[in-house]
């Protein structure tokens, strides 16, 4: 099997811990740039996991998926975020509505909850507990980020983390989806991000700030 | 009515404390009479200790039956559990009495002194009655007597309107607790014939689950109110600070422990462990009590109120051990239950000693420096070195530092919580280890609190003229302090002496428990650790050179004044800021005159800390009761025909009930 085989086995069995670390750090991150870096790190871990799955299951098209994940989520999207931040000239702070201590305890509770939820399901579907719990935690943390951070850019990031989680869950339960569906999902995300980028520009132009808690016109 | 030698000791105790001392004090005003009374109290306490040892080691428990003298069964027994608590009461009573002799002389006038000593001995007698009671009647008599006599002792000290208000709250909550305790006993009645402890114990096994749950809850509420569990602790910081210091020492040191005795007696001895959820309830209430208690203690500047809140915290730690023990019992692990019970009882013992030590120290301080406010003390270590050393030992014990007694009991509690990780596949598997974190937080905050206490009271410069002219305490006070400090140190380095009897006691209360090996390992490792720490400390004393007094650089000012030091309020500010959600003071800043904001004539700042549970829990509760009472008032119309109607309706409903019951 060799070194590569050993490495893939280790990656597959333990990558969830590192995902947990990234979401715990996302809970306490105070700058947008830090959050984006953590998202990039998260996507890199998921890309590594995809490639490891490809190696182990011997499915060549999953390599392409892995490469796509890497190119889009680790390189392109963080680049786009940094560009956006520079163009919008927005303040670097994340504007969280919970203190770091509260956020990290909430994320810890989310992790516990995902394990508790996944516990009974995992035995039925013959899927190891840890990666599935990591996926559910990513989904819940993405939702938590969207709820508790008031900057519009952080809403986008929260959505991206959530999508990471869904992608991971799909990957684990199906051991790689058909390539066409993967490409379709990626294009969906790209379109969504493009739209959100355009809207963020317009919000910033019109209101001179990006604080979503002040946008209250969605009332009857 | 045959009584053996131990029974005779019993009678002696009762007569000395209950009859002889008050009579002597009433009869004569001579100082010799008072000295005789104090000697009698000491002799009786010593006799109590001997009796406790007999009760523990002897084959048969000493008994005393006084049912011929009372309308209900009125007897006493000293079995293992009672012996432990009897030893606690009497062993703490001796140093406190020795301390109180010169203290009361300096503090009170002639007449009040006699009354105080009379009540003092009655107070001791009531606590002995409670822990040695063998029937429900004797227990309740002792229980009520404790409350009444301590209220009397508080009122002898002074009866201003504020003190009477505090005593009223104290009496109110104690009676509510006593009602719950009485309910506890009466719930046994359908199943046991009479309230003799033997009968109650025998009936405990065969009772339905609902009654057991009710008894457990009533015991928890009743004894919890007496012990000071949150949210029933309102009376503690009101009553303990206003009593004279030796009485506060007895109240905090021993009276709270009788509540622990009652709880252990009911849940472990009579019920054999509560329902499956009982341990979790106790654990959670205890954790909240411990945390909130120490947080409120840190914010206090009045030394005695600080110590009162710290008692709340320590009761929380004791009940943490008891809760863990109940959880282990419910899951059928007697060894873990024994360890947790030993931890709780050890902490009970420790707390009695170091809290009495600290309260007596507070008494010595207020006697010499004429103030018990930490912001007015300072520099006392140079003026009262002996008292300072004793209080330092007390502070180190209560902070749970190794080589002092407090560490051993906290260690045992930690180990018993950690042992919970062996209960695989239960909720307790993670809840108990997570409680280690809460206990660690409580311990860390306690250490910080007592650094503040000792540092601002004894070290640095004096902050008032009273502290500047303080003198060392008289010999009697110093003896009392020394005795308590010696016990704290001895148990801290050689805990085996207390651990062996406690293991035997736990084996009686929890059938099937072996000897937890943690008790053996700590007894083995602590002397070695003490040897290394003290040895190294002594070794490096070799490096000490000559020293020279040099004035501290005052940044160019002519000298440092006592106002440039940290006060107690400032010391606790960072912690109060971090835990601001708990405190929520009402702050008001007033600048006069109001229309000239930039040129004020006077600025006043007022901060009132109403503890949040008072606002959130007590006031709405009291208002609810009052509004219910007002509504019920409408039944009292004053019209005699309406009253006749009520009687008529009662008769009719009784007849209907009888008819439908058939």
């Amino acid at each position: 099997m060799g070194l590569v085989g050993l490495a893939t086995e280790k990656i597959l069995s333990s990558f969830s811990v590192f995902l947990f670390l990234t979401i715990l750090l996302l809970a306490v991150a105070r700058r947008i740039s830090t959050s984006v870096l953590l998202f990039g790190l998260q996507s890199a871990i998921i890309a590594a996991e995809v490639l490891a799955t490809a190696f182990q299951e011997k499915l060549p098209e999953v390599y392409i998926v892995g490469a796509l994940v890497f190119v889009i989520k680790v390189v392109a999207i963080p680049r786009a975020f940094f560009l956006l931040t520079k163009r919008l000239k927005t303040v670097r702070d994340v504007k969280a509505s919970t203190t770091p201590t509260q956020s990290v305890f909430i994320v810890a509770a989310i992790i516990y909850l995902s394990y508790a939820a996944v516990h009974s399901y995992g035995r039925v579907v013959h899927v190891p507990d840890d990666p599935l719990a990591a996926a559910v935690s990513l989904i819940l943390t993405g939702a938590f980020l969207m709820v508790s951070r008031k900057k519009a850019l952080m809403q986008m990031l929260g959505l991206l983390v959530l999508e990471n989680g869904i992608f991971l869950a799909a990957l684990i339960t199906t051991f790689g989806m058909p390539l066409v569906i993967e490409i379709g999902i990626f294009f969906d995300i790209l379109m969504g991000l493009l739209l959100m980028g355009i809207f963020t520009f317009r919000i910033s132009d019109t209101f001179e700030h990006l604080d979503v808690s002040k946008l209250r016109k969605l009332r009857g | 009515m045959l009584i053996g030698p131990t029974g005779a000791l019993f009678v002696l105790l009762a007569v000395a404390l209950g009859v002889a001392v008050p009579v002597i004090l009433m009869a004569s005003r001579a100082p010799g009479a008072r000295r005789l009374a104090i000697t009698l109290i000491l002799a009786a306490s010593f006799a109590g200790c001997v009796l406790a040892v007999f009760g523990f080691l002897g084959r048969a428990a000493p008994r005393l039956d006084l049912s011929w003298a009372a309308p209900f069964p009125f007897s006493f027994v000293v079995d293992r559990l009672s012996a432990f608590f009897l030893l606690l009461v009497c062993a703490v009573a001796i140093p406190v009495t020795i301390f109180a002799a010169p203290y009361f002389d300096l503090h009170y006038s002639e007449r009040r002194r006699n009354w105080t000593w009379g009540f003092f001995s009655l107070f001791l007698l009531s606590m002995i009655v409670v822990v040695t009671a063998a029937t429900g009647f004797s227990f309740l008599v002792g229980w009520e007597l404790m409350t009444l006599v301590s209220a009397g002792l508080i009122l002898i000290e002074g009866d201003s309107a504020e003190r009477r208000h505090n005593v009223f709250i104290y009496l109110l909550m104690m009676h509510a607790g006593a009602a719950a305790v009485a309910a506890c006993f009466f719930l046994f009645l359908p199943y046991s014939h009479g309230l003799d402890f033997e009968a109650v114990r025998a009936s405990g096994a065969g009772m339905p689950g609902g009654i057991r749950a009710a008894i457990f809850l009533a015991a928890f509420v009743g004894f919890g109110a007496k012990a000071g569990l949150i949210p029933l602790h309102l009376w503690l910081p009101r009553a303990h600070p206003i009593a004279p210091s030796p009485v506060s020492a007895l109240m905090s040191g021993i009276m709270l422990k009788t509540a622990v005795y009652g709880f252990v007696r009911f849940t472990f001895d009579f019920l054999g462990g509560g329902p499956w959820w009982s341990g979790y309830v106790v654990l959670i209430v205890a954790a909240v009590t411990g945390l909130l208690g120490i947080l409120y203690a840190i914010a206090e500047d009045d030394l005695k109120r600080l110590l009162a809140y710290s008692s709340v915290e320590n009761i929380g730690i004791i009940f943490l051990g008891l809760g863990a023990s109940l959880i282990f019992l419910a899951h059928g692990v007697p060894l873990g239950a024994a360890l947790a019970l030993i931890a709780a009882l050890f902490h009970t013992f420790n707390h009695a000693f170091f809290k009495s030590l600290l309260f007596l120290g507070a008494g010595a301080i207020s006697n010499s420096a004429h103030s018990a406010n930490l912001n007015e003390l300072g520099g006392l270590q140079r003026r009262m070195p002996f008292t300072g050393a004793a209080v330092l030992i007390g502070c180190c014990s209560i902070a749970g530092l190794p080589l002092f007694s407090g560490f051993v009991s906290e260690w045992l509690t930690f180990r018993s919580l950690l042992a919970g990780s062996a209960l695989i596949n239960t909720k307790a598997q993670i809840i108990l280890p997570l409680m280690v974190g809460i206990l660690a937080l409580i311990g860390g905050l306690a250490a910080a609190c007592f650094v503040k206490t000792f540092g601002t009271a004894f070290l640095g410069r004096p902050r008032s003229t009273g502290a500047e002219h303080a003198e060392e305490a008289p010999l009697g006070m110093r003896t009392g302090l020394a005795l308590l400090a010696a016990v704290c140190l001895a148990i801290g380095i050689f805990p085996g002496f207390l651990l062996r009897p406690l293991v035997a006691l736990a084996q009686v209360l929890i059938p099937g428990a072996g000897v937890p090996e943690e008790t053996l390992s700590i007894a083995r490792i602590l002397p070695w650790t003490a040897a290394i720490v003290l040895g190294t400390g002594a070794l490096v004393a070799v490096f000490k050179r000559r020293e020279r007094i040099a004035r501290t650089w005052a940044c160019g000012l002519p000298g440092l004044s006592s106002r440039m030091q940290y006060t107690s309020t400032v010391f606790s500010k960072p912690l109060r800021f971090v835990f601001a959600q708990v405190y929520r003071p009402d702050r008001k800043v007033e600048e006069l005159p109001a229309d000239q904001p930039y040129f004020p004539v006077s600025i006043s700042y007022r901060s009132v800390r109403t503890t949040s549970y008072e606002r959130v829990f007590y006031r709405p509760f009291v208002e609810l009761i009052l509004s219910l009472a007002y509504r019920l008032r409408r039944l009292q119309t004053g019209n005699i025909q309406v009253y006749l109607l009520y009687i008529f309706l009662a008769l009719v409903s009784l007849l209907a009930f009888l008819r439908f019951e058939r």
């Binding site: 810890a108 | 520099g379 390992s521």
Partner: protein, 313 residues
């Protein structure tokens, strides 16, 4: 034979402590493009201080004079718990990690109390801030060690090390990763390094540990500085022993011990480099952000304890 080796370990921890501190200072200086002082300077400084006369504030009492000795004694007591070259320590097999943590707390208590004895504002300031940091750091410290103890089913530190030695080095344990992160954060707080406290500061606004030792001089100051260096060394050795102990001598052979010592120096070097890089790259936290820092450590260690449930299932 074992006892001799255990005593040697304690001596190594004591005597190597100033060297560790000096190496960290030198690395930080190099990172800041300075040359840095010689790595043997702390020894020269201790030697100098031990021979000097001691100046004592006029308000101080016996507690001021007693505090450095108790601090030193307690730190040595804690040093007797940590295995360095083999999976055993002087008190390490009988005593457990609770006693270890609380011995360090004993030293800290007396240091704070001694600081308040100086009668000036700096001591109070240092003691008050130290009270804040230490009271919040106890919980994550103990919880992290509890998590490892539950996984190893042992309570003594030597036993935990022996268990880790028996594990495969390539297994990644979630509990250990979380516990390591949390313990590393706590150790930064407990030993007074950046970002919690600046060990080289002399500005009163930023002092925590330095504020408490301001009044001490001569042999007392030597003892206090040495004790804090020993504490840092103990913590580094503890991290290595609990998380990367492979290479420790399993029998008492001279060759094994030499190899273990070499490996220990290498691992210490790695940790020291990491510490210097972290210290040079982050700014000191504002004091009221330290509770958030420690809160994150608490959450991580609590999570480590929760994860043990799934390991032990």
């Amino acid at each position: 034979m074992r006892i001799a080796l255990d005593i040697l370990q304690v001596l190594l921890l004591i005597l190597g402590a100033p060297l560790v501190r000096a190496i960290i200072a030198r690395l930080k200086a190099r990172l800041q493009r300075r040359r840095g002082a010689s790595i043997w300077r702390p020894y020269a400084e201790l030697f100098k201080l031990l021979r000097k006369e001691e100046l004592v504030p006029p308000t101080s009492s016996a507690v001021f004079r007693l505090a450095p000795m108790v601090l030193f004694g307690a730190t040595i007591g804690a040093a007797a718990f940590v295995p360095v070259v083999h999976a055993s320590a002087l008190l390490g097999s009988r005593g457990d990690f609770f006693l270890f943590v609380y011995l360090l707390a004993l030293g800290r208590f007396f240091l704070s109390v001694g600081a308040l004895d100086g009668g000036c504002a700096f001591g109070g300031m240092g003691a008050s801030r130290e009270a804040l940091v230490s009271s919040l750091a106890e919980a994550p410290f103990l919880l992290g060690l509890v998590a490892i103890a539950i996984v190893a089913s042992r309570v003594d530190i030597a036993g935990m090390v022996a268990w880790t030695l028996g594990q495969n080095i390539f297994n990644i344990s979630a509990v250990h990763i979380l516990a390591f992160t949390s313990l590393a954060m706590v150790i930064l707080a407990e030993t007074g390094r950046m970002p919690v406290d600046n060990p080289t500061t002399h500005l009163e606004l930023t002092m925590i540990h330095e504020g408490m030792v301001l009044e001490y001089s001569g042999p007392s100051l030597a003892l206090i500085e040495w004790a804090s260096a020993i504490k840092l060394h103990i913590m580094v050795a503890l991290l290595i022993a609990l998380f990367f102990p492979w290479g420790m001598a399993s029998n008492g052979s001279g060759w094994g011990i030499a190899v273990a010592l070499l490996l220990y120096c290498t691992k210490t070097a790695v940790l020291v480099i990491l510490l210097s890089v972290i210290e040079s790259s982050v700014a000191k936290l504002r004091m009221y952000l330290v509770p958030d820092f420690l809160g994150v450590a608490s959450a991580l260690s609590a999570l480590a304890v929760i994860f043990t449930m799934w390991v032990k299932r």
